[in-house]
């Protein structure tokens, strides 16, 4: 996820292991506005960016493992969209601390990531992955629609762009929830179990805290998104006669940098190459 740009001249002085490095020039502001985020807005953008980044990384596990080629392509496309959203949010968040999107993605440790727990949950069972996509996209559809009217023009621009894309993600997940939920006995029971497994991580998405409460008109107050989310989930699950899970919420604390076991594995895979070849650009 480099935003660096290769110039035509290759300098052979900068070679890290077997990675040869071009002379690089940083691209100009992705947002074109050159705006610098305040500390608080950056902290909020970091949450949104981390959610998208970690979900993208988690979901990329499926590329080449999906049950059919079309599904491989669909999941790869969704992964790429999420990475695009993450890049924009992290780029903007980094303007406050003079860090690049790559600094933020590759050089923070686990406790510095502020993504929610849902996106780091294992989804190596197809139904689990679909449940995770369904719940998270249902949340994101509402989130980006609301954030598109943010007083912060950069957040609004990223949200307006992303909103168009997460509608596809949501629709994709809905189609699978219906298909699995209404399919064979096996697919139905696994879809139900997957929803039960992911449900404890839903509440965290809608928790307000000091940061979101202080950014009135800039951030979307998470609790305001809950009714729309519940309505969506009820409508879809109602169609296949699956009950809304009633499990207790996990004591999720991702916004404070506390994560589940899975997070270490995700970061290890995402970060090892960059850390093995510090400052390499590609």
């Amino acid at each position: 996820m480099t935003q660096a740009k290769a110039e035509s001249v290759v300098t052979d002085s900068e070679v890290h292991g077997d990675v040869s490095v071009d002379e690089l020039k940083l691209a100009d502001e992705l947002l074109g506005t050159g705006r610098v985020a305040s500390k608080e807005v950056a902290a909020y953008a970091l949450r949104l960016g981390d959610d998208a980044l970690i979900l993208s990384q988690s979901l990329s596990w499926w590329v080449s493992r999906a049950p059919e080629l079309e599904e491989d392509m669909a999941l790869a496309n969704i992964t790429l969209d999420l990475l695009g959203h993450a890049r924009a949010f992290l780029h903007f968040a980094g303007t406050a601390s003079k860090k690049s999107e790559d600094d933020l993605a590759y050089w923070r440790d686990e406790h510095e990531f502020v993504n929610c727990w849902l996106v780091e949950q294992p989804g190596h069972d197809f139904a689990e992955m679909i449940a995770r996509q369904f719940l998270f996209s249902a949340y994101q559809v509402g989130l980006y629609a609301a954030l598109a009217t943010s007083k912060d023009s950069s957040l609004a621009a990223i949200a307006a762009k992303s909103a168009r894309e997460v509608r596809y993600h949501y629709d994709h997940a809905v189609q699978w929830v219906l298909r699995l939920g209404d399919g064979t006995e096996e697919s139905r029971s696994r879809m139900i179990q997957a929803l039960i497994d992911m449900w404890p991580y839903v509440d965290e998405l809608f928790e307000d805290d000091d940061l979101t409460e202080s950014l009135t008109g800039v951030a979307v107050l998470p609790s305001t998104l809950r009714p729309g989310f519940d309505e969506k989930v009820a409508a879809v699950l109602g169609e296949v006669d699956i009950e809304i899970p009633a499990g207790k919420p996990a004591k999720a604390n991702g916004r404070q940098g506390i994560h589940t076991n899975q997070m270490g594995y995700i970061l290890a895979e995402m970060q090892w190459l960059t850390r093995r070849h510090p400052e390499a650009k590609w």
Binding site: K5, L30, G32, E70, M73, T79, A157, A160
Partner: protein
């Protein structure tokens, strides 16, 4: 979502800028090499001040990797044309829409075998997008079906024609 009043044609009126625009506008989409970045609506703004050309592009989808290639191609094309100082930047706002695709672009897409977007993006404003019949670019039949909403690139869906039995790409309304 309220569609912003951004048009497909942002050609500058300043003759110098227009000259640079026409050069930048020859750059093709690397993934759909019949469309220029002007046809696509990706070329947003061109300005010339002295020897400096500033070009603004907008990505189609957020994660579309083709944008970097387009930027490099614009840069190269303008330098080859003699501009010494070229800067290419991105903007995200207003968000790109297939509404900006030129009629010429739609015609070229169809000839290339890709069904062009068949509606205005406001049709998609509901909670679940309404899918309109997509015409097969080869035989013009409306007896087509979606195989996957996600095709070989982010901007395309995969379809099959039940009349001529050929699979084809559809450039999604966005």
């Amino acid at each position: 979502m309220v569609a912003k009043e951004a048009s497909a044609n942002n050609q500058p009126s300043d003759p110098k800028a227009l000259q640079a625009w026409r050069i930048a506008a020859t750059v093709l989409d690397p993934e759909v090499p019949v469309l220029t970045i002007e046809d696509l609506g990706v070329l947003r703004h061109v300005e010339v001040a002295g020897e400096t050309v500033s070009v603004v592009l907008t990505p189609t989808y957020s994660g579309c990797p083709a944008i970097d290639q387009m930027r490099d191609d614009v840069d190269t094309r303008l330098r080859q044309a003699g501009y010494k100082d070229v800067s290419v930047t991105y903007t995200l706002s207003p968000a790109w829409s297939t509404d900006w695709m030129t009629e010429d672009g739609k015609r070229k897409l169809k000839e290339y075998g890709i069904a062009p977007p068949n509606a205005k993006s406001s049709v998609l404003s509901g909670p679940i997008p309404i899918t309109l019949g997509v015409k097969c670019p080869r035989c013009d039949s409306l007896m087509t079906e979606e195989i996957s909403k996600f095709g070989s690139t982010a901007c395309k869906a995969l379809y099959r024609c039940r009349a001529c039995e050929e699979p084809f790409d559809y450039f999604k309304v966005h």
